[in-house]
Symmetry: C2
Subunit: 488 residues, 2 copies
């Protein structure tokens, strides 16, 4: 597998075929493909000079900048693994991840240098430190089957789990997104999603694979998205609730016509998608479904089957399985299981979880779905034991929030669940049973959580109950609780 | 890597999404995708019933029939390896391959059952024998990184070498050919190339990947190609000299206009390509370059750079290296070296050859080339030590023919080389030094070779010389000899 094609090979290919074509820009600073390839080589030389070796982990703590991508390309050519950290996590959450993956180095941008230093004592480095470490030789892109990326995702057990992805996984993701979204060399991706999540990284790899250009944004800002489309010719961006509505509001506010906008891709509620299509009649909305462990699973033009999450990705096969891993009857709901070259390598240090997740040759997503007769997939919630909440494009696992709430001295029991939310897609909500003789208020619980874990994980509301309703097997009945929340 | 996407997964995906779309037809017998999937499952059940296990080799001796494809799909789901044998080889050549790869089973079509039985004693089976072995369960497509295909290619040492390819290799080949040739679900491939070579197999996988249909031909017949386009709506076929000229002649003979013909892809001499484009002004010619070890390397619309072999395949990186594996200066000629997910796994039982071929992370093709400033590749002959002759789409290694000629009692020395040939692209030619006091004629030598190895390997002409010219390092100077052949 030594002569395979890695991320560096992709960049080097484009730099050889069209060196002067724009690859990335941020704040007016333009990287053509030749400059991007030099940036990756310079970072590779810096990593090597810092002692980074095959299989080492390199964490990165940065806003969504081109350097995350370039570092991923550079590290993968050395056989090292990049761990992009979510800058919205608290110091404690970051410390847990750093302890879990033991990075050989933490690279940070200017805003996060202090956090990196406090996390890593002696192992931290700025992007600037990595540059200028002598001549960076031409590279081969490493073994594509080896891990190159470790993305932490929210965890059932209350702790994040590290998903290991290979270069081949990421390239299969990028090429499939390129196909589904019909990305060509003429496209300009406005990089709305963070580069420390699979959606943002996958879209960027898709743009690179197509030889397109990417307009990098350090953070999501709806007015900046409108300007990137209107002024820089952006043709495409990715979205999770509530991004699209915010962009539509900003577009209206600016009175902007966006003739270059060809498509928006991702997830949103039907009324928002319809509003987008009405406001931008020349554009299309591509629905997408996937997760860190496998991206994409399905996708396609929203108009071809509104409400579905599209048809199977070009190199994906979908099966709906019951609890005994038998296919459900046609039209019935089952767990969405997938075979695809983008299925991840496994959870770091969790062989049993990894094995269970991939049992019988099928990746088990933990999501429920239905298929229509032509293979369009309809998302139908999450398996009870994997009650992930998706809010504003971030994953929140109830168990993690429950664990924090239970540290509050007044709380005897807690159950956290998602409720539909017009703005965020879903919102985190908590039901609490108080200890006898103790009292606590909604705002107090919310602030208690916000002080301890990333702010996006705090409940939007708290309901106090006498007991947590349970299903016959004794597990909390989160759906029943969700139904009690008014206006949800 | 257990939840990856294999060949069976591709067929099952298409069968789930469009079961009633035509996948293959041969002589009016139509296989929609659902029937093709059932055929693969039935063959898998038959192989399992015959005792075929993971890593076993299954040889197949057949004209180019859909069963070769279905057997490949079935075997790969079981983790077994299919060895498609070239039906043009002699019994001795086939026996060598069978001894080299020790198949657990040899499957043959009706025309080759006797040969298969004489080769394998007790291990042979007909396609019919494999069917009807009880219910074939739904399958997962196996581990895509494992070998699934063993293709024998002509060998430097005078013996064919087995190239091991994984499912991922074949799928990367198919998806890249799909991209280069712009194949969509509306296409109909006329399968002109044999399904026991990488070109024919790769094109068939490309058509399956696009959800297109393939018109299977047991053997190449120019009039049948014209009929498949004119009557069955064929849109695309692959070509090696002298196929295209023969089709053009047949088209003229039939007075056929071929409005559905969208493209022809492969290799031919500029005058033939120009004649094709003049005769079919709506069609395009796509040039392609690759080899069994990596397909495709490059390709593209012939008109964008006539005479080149196109630009780099979408997931391929090309470097031109000198004898010390350093990049040659821009514009200079060097060995064409490749990184790509379709680079093969290695030569069966030849670890040293495999290592040499993939040294420093680059697959060494043995071909020489030049790149222009925009990355278009120009084929510039073969490295002297790898003097492959390509004649009529078949590979002939001089050493193999030389070995046979040297068995002739009158011949003291022999040197075999390729000469340009209008009809066959290249023709095999031999220079012989006779033993003192012995005589032999041109026709006698040609017949001597034709009796012993596949007929396409026999020289078209023999030149008798007093001595073989040699290069400074003592190796025969084949180019100097080729220059002495008149009208070549």
């Amino acid at each position: 597998m030594e002569c395979t094609f890695g991320l560096y090979d992709l960049i080097a290919r484009q730099a050889a075929l069209f060196p002067h074509r724009e690859a990335l820009r941020r704040n007016g600073d333009v990287f053509d493909y030749a400059r991007l390839e030099r940036l990756a080589r310079s970072l590779a030389a810096g990593l090597a000079a810092a002692g980074v070796k095959t299989s080492d982990r390199v964490a990165v703590l940065s806003h969504s900048r081109e350097e995350i991508l370039a570092l991923l390309v550079a590290a993968s050519a050395l056989g090292a693994v990049v761990v992009p950290l979510n800058v919205r996590l608290t110091a404690e959450e970051l410390a847990y991840i750093v302890a879990d993956c033991s990075p050989a180095l933490i690279c940070a941008d200017g805003d996060h240098g202090e956090t990196a230093r406090s996390l890593a004592r002696g192992l931290s480095s700025s992007f600037e430190d990595l540059h200028g470490k002598g001549d960076a030789p031409a590279l081969a892109g490493g073994d594509a089957s080896r891990p190159c990326l470790l993305l932490y995702t929210a965890a059932v057990s209350g702790r994040p789990r590290g998903c290991l992805l290979s270069q081949a996984n990421l390239l299969a993701c990028g090429f499939q997104l390129r196909d589904i979204l019909e990305i060509t060399g003429g496209d300009a991706l406005v990089a709305t999603l963070p580069l420390f999540h699979i959606g943002g990284l996958g879209a960027a790899v898709a743009a690179l694979a197509a030889g397109a250009r990417t307009i990098v944004m350090e953070r999501f800002d709806p007015a900046a998205v409108v300007r990137a489309v209107a002024d820089d010719g952006g043709t495409l961006f990715m979205t999770f609730p509530p991004m699209l509505q915010a962009v539509l509001d900003a577009q209206k506010g600016a009175g902007a016509d966006l003739p270059s906008l060809r498509a928006v891709a991702g997830v949103d509620a039907p009324p928002t998608v319809e509003a987008f299509l009405a406001q931008n009649p020349r554009a299309r909305f591509f629905t997408l479904y996937g997760q860190t462990e496998v991206m994409p699973v399905s996708g396609g033009d929203w108009r071809s089957r509104p409400g579905s999450v599209g048809t199977w990705a070009p190199w994906a096969r979908v099966a709906l399985l019951d609890d005994d891993d038998r296919p459900v009857a046609p039209g019935e709901t089952g767990e969405i299981c997938v075979r695809s070259p983008s299925v991840f390598l496994g959870y770091l240090g969790l062989p049993e979880e990894t094995r269970r997740c991939g049992r019988h040759g099928w990746h088990h997503t933990g999501d429920l779905g239905r298929l229509d007769e032509e293979g369009y997939l309809y998302w139908a919630g999450r398996k009870p034991e994997k009650e992930l909440i998706k809010t504003g494009g971030e994953n929140v696992y109830p168990a993690e929030v429950e664990k924090v709430i239970l540290e509050h001295p007044a709380v005897a029991e807690a159950c956290v669940f998602g409720v539909p939310d017009e703005r965020w897609g879903e919102a985190v909500w908590a039901a609490c049973v108080l200890r006898e003789g103790r009292g606590a208020g909604e705002e107090e619980i919310i602030a208690f959580v916000a002080d301890r874990i990333a702010r996006y994980k705090r409940p939007r509301g708290v309901t106090f109950v006498r007991e947590i309703p349970r299903r016959p097997d004794g597990t909390p009945d989160r759906r029943k609780l969700a139904d009690t929340i008014p206006n949800s």
